[in-house]
């Protein structure tokens, strides 16, 4: 499953919360510049998989290698420093701070390059440039998602882990988020995406994995052109 240019490789990952195990031997890989979508029913372990990669959930067994180095069980801030950056479902923004303060904190580990990175993000998201002084909690869900993605970009990521980027957003914003993900893909940023909106997932991903009961039950190339109804059937039935 792991190609020679795989940057993220998970093998036999088992993880969960307290006594409840969620992942039972998860295997997958993401190659350089590749976008992989994780699909699955509620409770299949998608978010846990992402949180285990980013270090917020400690795996009980298995290995997760990023660019050859073992990252399983490392602290979240150490994994982040390697360039594995998560944009979580709850967006985890600093709600009492302005857009720009949020973005600057995204570049916490980057030191002196803040001005350059900030220019880059404002260029990609002119809307954020207009609202850089605005308090994040006063923004709409879609705008907050933009701040979250912009803040992740401030860290100059090697791979982005996106947990439901379109979750809870108005249709117009879903289209905008899709365009943003495509633009990131065009720049060659590898991504692992959880997405309930299968249309969106298929429009951006190269490959999709179907999770069931904490393991990858199937994986398919998007180019193979599987119909959406068929994918839904395979996820839930």
């Amino acid at each position: 499953m792991a190609t020679p240019d795989a940057i993220l490789v998970a093998r036999g990952v088992e993880a969960g919360y307290a006594k409840k195990q969620i992942l039972f031997g998860l295997d997958f890989s993401v190659s350089r510049s590749e976008v992989v979508a994780l699909l699955g029913a509620n409770g299949s372990g998608k978010s846990t998989a992402l949180n285990t990669v980013s270090g917020f959930v400690r795996p009980q067994a298995g290995s997760i290698r990023f660019e050859g180095a073992e990252i399983a069980g490392k602290a979240p801030h150490r994994i982040f420093r390697l360039g594995v950056v998560q944009v979580s479902q709850a967006r985890d923004l600093f709600s009492e701070m302005s857009v720009e303060e949020n973005l600057r904190l995204g570049a916490w580990v980057r030191g002196g390059e803040v001005a350059r990175l900030l220019d880059g993000v404002y260029q990609s998201f002119p809307r954020l440039a207009e609202r850089r002084r605005q308090m994040v909690r006063l923004m709409s869900g879609g705008e907050q998602q933009m701040v979250a993605i912009g803040r992740a970009l401030m860290a100059d990521p090697r791979i982005l882990l996106l947990d439901e980027p379109s979750g809870g957003l108005a249709p117009s914003f879903v289209a905008e988020i899709a365009a943003i993900i495509k633009a990131l893909k065009a720049r060659g940023i590898a991504m692992l995406i959880i997405e309930q909106n299968i249309k969106l997932a298929l429009s951006v991903a190269d490959r999709f994995l179907i999770l069931r009961d904490g393991r990858v039950s199937q994986q398919h190339d998007v180019k193979a052109g599987m119909r959406e109804e068929e994918i839904v059937r395979r996820i839930y039935l």
């Binding site: 980013s54 917020f56 602290a75 979240p76 801030h77 982040f80 420093r81 998560q86 979580s88 985890d92 923004l93 600093f94 709600s95 009492e96 701070m97 720009e100 303060e101 600057r104 904190l105 995204g106 916490w108 580990v109 803040v114 001005a115 350059r116 990175l117 900030l118 220019d119 880059g120 993000v121 404002y122 260029q123 990609s124 440039a129 850089r132 803040r151 970009l153 401030m154 860290a155 100059d156 720049r187």
Partner: protein, 336 residues
């Protein structure tokens, strides 16, 4: 963002140049103490004692506010640091004969050590009321030590601290103590301001706003929580040393829950997370009972009503009122 070309837009520079208010604030730190210099000329010994007590509560409030206001953790170990600082100074001066001024730094370091110890539950992920009760227990445990460790602490009766001296110069009047305390209080405020304006302060702010997000941004949250507790303990410990020098007698009863409530009131009335608030709160809460002294019986009542009114109408403390008057008093500790 590897291929994003810099654009000819000055936005990237925004927030990097110091806002004028921040520069003015620096002046505030030096101008106010300078204005206070002639104070001992106008005050009698008792009023001077109260002024000195205010200066003792400045580092105590500043230190407490770091953990509860800037870091946002509900930890009440500050009275423990205060007691440790006072006892460290007292024991070194009385038992080992060190001049008081040489005990200030060790008192701060003992406070910092207590700060590291008190941070253990927080580092293990204990939060909110659980953290509050555990840190309260830490303070009470230390009080038990003060009472039981009679050969060193003097037990329930406490110990008398020799008259303080600085470089062989005995501070025999309240006015003399005032100048030394003023220097220490200014140092506590200025150094804490430096810390809060640095990368450390930004990390504290991020942790307070959203701890998980802070960790997700690569901020080693544990390290900063430990640092905040240690600095808090250091500053409050120095406050304890000043207290020992001011009162001349250290007893366990001075570090009980009533003291904690008083210090909590200082921070709440002044303004959570505000350095200006810590100073104003220390002044108001320490001086207020003196204003009501002419009304025996109603003193505690009026004091209580004052606190309730401030919290009710100024939830962000008196600092927020000052901030409305002039931007010089605004202290949002997040700027490069």
């Amino acid at each position: 963002m590897t291929d994003a070309a810099p654009i000819a837009n000055p936005t990237g520079k925004s927030g990097r140049s110091k806002p004028p208010a921040a520069r003015q604030r620096r002046t505030l730190f030096w101008a106010v103490p300078l204005l206070l210099l002639p104070l001992p000329l106008f005050l009698d010994q008792y009023k001077q004692y109260v002024a000195n007590l205010i200066l003792v509560y400045v580092p105590v409030a500043v230190g407490f506010n770091i953990v509860i206001g800037n870091l946002g953790l509900l930890a009440f170990s500050n009275v423990a640091f205060f007691g440790i600082g006072a006892y460290a100074s007292g024991v070194l001066a009385l038992k080992l004969g060190w001049p008081w001024w040489t005990t200030i730094l060790p008192a701060g370091l003992m406070g910092a050590l207590a700060g590291c110890t008190a941070s253990v539950p927080a580092l293990r992920g204990v939060r909110l009321f659980y953290l509050a009760i555990m840190t309260l227990a830490f303070g009470e445990l230390l009080r038990w030590v003060y009472i039981r460790w009679v050969p060193v602490t003097g037990g329930s009766f406490g110990m008398s601290v020799p008259q303080p001296s600085v470089l062989g110069w005995t501070l025999s009047t309240e006015g003399q103590k005032f100048y030394v305390f003023l220097v220490l209080a200014v140092l506590a405020v200025v150094l804490t301001d430096r810390i809060l304006r640095s990368r450390f302060g930004r990390a504290f702010m991020a942790i307070k706003d959203n701890e998980l997000a802070a960790a997700a941004m690569g901020i080693p949250t544990d390290r900063y929580i430990l640092l905040a507790f240690a600095w808090s303990g250091f500053v409050v410990g120095i406050g304890g040393s000043m207290y020992a020098a001011l009162v001349g007698h250290v007893t366990p009863v001075a570090f009980d829950l009533t003291e904690l409530i008083l210090e909590f009131a200082v921070v709440m009335v002044g303004g959570l997370g505000s350095l200006v608030g810590s100073v104003v709160g220390a002044a108001v809460i320490t001086a207020a009972p003196e204003f009501f002294r002419g009304l025996p019986g109603a003193q505690e009542l009026l004091f209580g009503v004052l606190i309730v009114l401030v919290i009710l109408f100024l939830p962000r403390g008196l600092a927020s009122l000052l901030a409305r008057l002039h931007p010089i008093f605004v202290d949002r500790h997040y700027r490069d």
